[in-house]
């Protein structure tokens, strides 16, 4: 995973609340057996017509969308299925952060393991971002701050361990593997065995 320290980008806004992972990555694309090449599939049912042609009004089809690294979405983004294909697709499209007032737990966990930062902010800031699509925002991963062009700058919650992994580009598996002797010890001394 690449190191992620800083994101400076305009935003794409999808204001709908409760966007589930079936919308981010419809089930028919889950037959993929790799992590790559899923950018074309994200939001497919909102993004293309029945003939597969891009719908010009949809935010991801606007000129310049491919260069945007920050998605602003309605409350409770990423609910539903645990499919990691959702953050894989978002990252493959070029997103490095999603901003909302709340994220579903599994989506949030999956995102942090793929260099996609879930940025939880208050309703006022969220409303400002929803009303200003294309705003140039700045996300400092080391400081866990989001800065807006209107001068507002605020902290967002970011688990220290996940933050460390993002900044150093570390895979969390390495940390788990370093615990091997403790895991073996646990298996030996636990009072019952599964």
């Amino acid at each position: 995973m690449e190191k992620l320290t800083h994101i400076h980008s305009t935003t794409i806004v999808l204001p709908q609340t409760d966007i589930d992972t079936d919308q981010i990555m419809p089930g028919r694309f889950l037959t993929s057996t790799t992590r790559e090449g899923l950018s074309e599939a994200i939001f497919a049912d909102w993004r293309y017509d029945v003939d597969g042609q891009p719908l010009p009004d949809f935010a991801l089809n606007q000129p310049g969308a491919a260069d945007c690294q920050v998605l602003v979405a309605g409350n409770n983004f990423g609910c539903g299925s645990s499919r990691e294909h959702a953050p894989w697709g978002l990252v493959d499209f070029g997103f490095r952060a999603v901003i909302s007032t709340r994220f579903a737990d599994i989506f949030s966990n999956n995102s942090l393991k793929n260099g996609l930062v879930p940025v939880v902010i208050n309703e006022d800031t969220h409303n400002w971002l929803l009303e200003h699509p294309g705003a140039m925002v700045d996300i400092d991963v080391a400081a866990a701050t989001l800065s807006l062009p209107n001068g507002v700058s605020l902290n967002f919650p970011l688990d220290g361990f996940a933050q460390h992994c993002l900044l150093e580009g570390l895979d969390q598996l390495g940390y788990l593997q370093s615990k091997e002797s403790e895991i073996s010890h646990f298996e030996q001394v636990r009072p019952w065995k599964p």
């Binding site: 790799t34 609910c79 299925s81 499919r83 999956n110 393991k113």
Partner: protein
């Protein structure tokens, strides 16, 4: 100091190392359920790094999500029955299990089925275990007093490689169900009403313990239906105290403890329920006495109303309006005036033997409407055999429904069982998201009883009018 909750007991029992401000806890996993859709990338990682699966003996594998629900005698059948991508994914799972020494409950095994159905069925799901799967409906297994939750594919790799996960301890929530459940109201209605009450993000960050006299009176299958949809309220996991019903269910199952191991296991299981003075971060009381059958009207499981009600007004909420437009419903329209094109009885929520019996009881002696296609899909090979031994399949076929092979089927549009654009389906599954059952398909979530009644009338129907 207050006592411990069921969740805290299971959590603490599995800490390889506790969490600190800098590092999450290392949590040991007792049972890893796997299927073909969310594991290929994890196995690829192991292969690339030359790592074995650490505990294949604690890994249970099956084929369910992308399998066709017509008879498959062997992998070569897939070339005809499945799309190439599905067939390739299934073949890869078979290969991965072979290469990494994992027993696969695949085609030809009478223990194949939906992963959340077979775990309990073969007795692998037990109280006090930590259970994970690359599937959000892992919450199902919490019905046994296990701590069970869904994970992503990266975490599937972590468990395959180390049998552990890095986790921050979730918050806890108690939902107390009390009162007398009225006749004709099911576990599905209880959980749909609950999600409607707390919302699709009401449980985010929490493990829910379902409590109260209503829960202790439910069968294991009913408890699984409730725990299954915990994720639809956003919660990490749902749990229920193990009791005599749990113990009775597990007795004699192939992977349940046997012989001299049985008594100590039961003693341990029955020590797991929350202490009387356990506290929760949040507590909610729900009286079930006035519940009626529930149906969804929108595009998430929280958009739910009593079947006797009308479609609510959007009150200017754009996301709400968009959902109604997608469903083709108007505010004020009676739910029971809504015509139905397809009825699906199945999924990890409602495909167990009592669910099939409930649908059959409504259908017996009736025909489904000419305009309706109805699929009945058992959750496992074993359930299929049991249902056939009771003659349930004959009731379904006589009514004009399709009786199909075990699998996830029409719960998610990735195995050939799809809705067509615009079709409305009364479904016993768990998600009514846009396109979940096929592009442009419309889903109304309901109990097996409501699904069967709606199939007969060709419109959404209160099953209490037919029973």
């Amino acid at each position: 100091m207050s006592g411990k909750s069921l969740f805290e007991k299971v959590w603490e029992d599995h800490l390889v190392s506790a969490e600190t401000p800098a590092n999450p806890a290392v949590l040991y996993i007792d049972l890893h359920l796997t299927h073909e859709v969310t594991t290929p990338q994890a196995f690829t990682l192991l292969r690339e790094q030359g790592m074995p699966v650490r505990r294949p003996d604690l890994t249970l594998a099956t084929l369910d999500h992308s399998t066709p629900t017509v008879p498959v005698t062997g992998l070569k059948d897939l070339d005809v029955l499945s799309e190439p991508a599905q067939a390739a994914q299934i073949r890869q799972m078979v290969q991965n299990c072979e290469d990494f020494g994992i027993e696969l409950h695949g085609f030809g095994s009478d223990q194949r089925g939906i992963v959340h159905v077979i775990g309990p069925e073969i007795g692998a799901t037990q109280p006090g275990k930590t259970i994970v799967c690359g599937d959000s409906h892992s919450s199902t297994h919490g019905a046994f007093g296990a701590l069970a939750f869904g994970i992503g594919s990266t975490e599937v790799g972590h468990v395959l490689a180390t049998q552990c996960l890095l986790q921050r301890k979730p918050k806890s929530m108690a939902i107390n169900f009390n009162g007398q459940l009225p006749a004709g109201v099911t576990a599905k209605d209880i959980i749909l009403a609950t999600i409607g009450e707390i919302g699709v993000d009401g449980g985010t960050g929490h493990v829910i313990e379902y409590r109260g006299n209503v829960i202790s009176g439910l069968s294991m299958e009913e408890r699984m239906t409730i725990c299954n949809m915990t994720i639809e309220a956003g919660a990490r996991a749902g749990m229920m105290a193990p009791d005599d019903t749990t113990v009775e269910f597990l007795a004699g199952r192939p992977q349940a403890p046997g012989g001299a191991d049985w008594e100590p296991a039961v003693e341990r299981w029955l020590s797991l329920p929350s202490d009387d003075d356990a506290t929760f971060d949040r507590e909610i009381d729900i009286d079930v006495a006035n519940l009626v059958p529930m149906v969804t009207f929108g595009t998430n499981p929280g958009m739910v109303v009593p079947i006797t009600a009308s479609v609510p007004d959007s009150n200017g909420d754009l996301s709400f309006r968009k959902a109604l437009d997608y469903m083709g419903l108007e505010p004020g329209q009676s739910m029971q005036q809504t015509s139905v094109d397809v009825v699906f009885v199945g999924s990890c929520t409602n495909s167990r033997l009592p669910d099939l019996r409930a649908a059959a009881r409504v259908l017996k002696g009736n025909k489904i409407a000419d305009s309706v296609r109805m699929l009945v899909v058992p959750g496992s090979e074993i359930i299929k055999q049991q249902a056939e031994a009771e003659g349930l399949h004959e009731i379904f076929l006589a009514a004009g429904a399709e009786w199909r092979e075990a699998g996830c089927s029409m719960c998610l549009g990735m195995n050939g069982d799809n809705l067509l654009p615009g079709q409305l389906c009364v479904s016993t599954s768990n998600r009514n998201f846009e396109g979940r059952q096929g592009i442009g398909g419309r889903t109304v979530l309901a109990s097996p009883e409501t699904a069967a009644a709606s199939a007969i009338n060709g419109r959404i129907t209160d099953p209490r009018t037919l029973l």
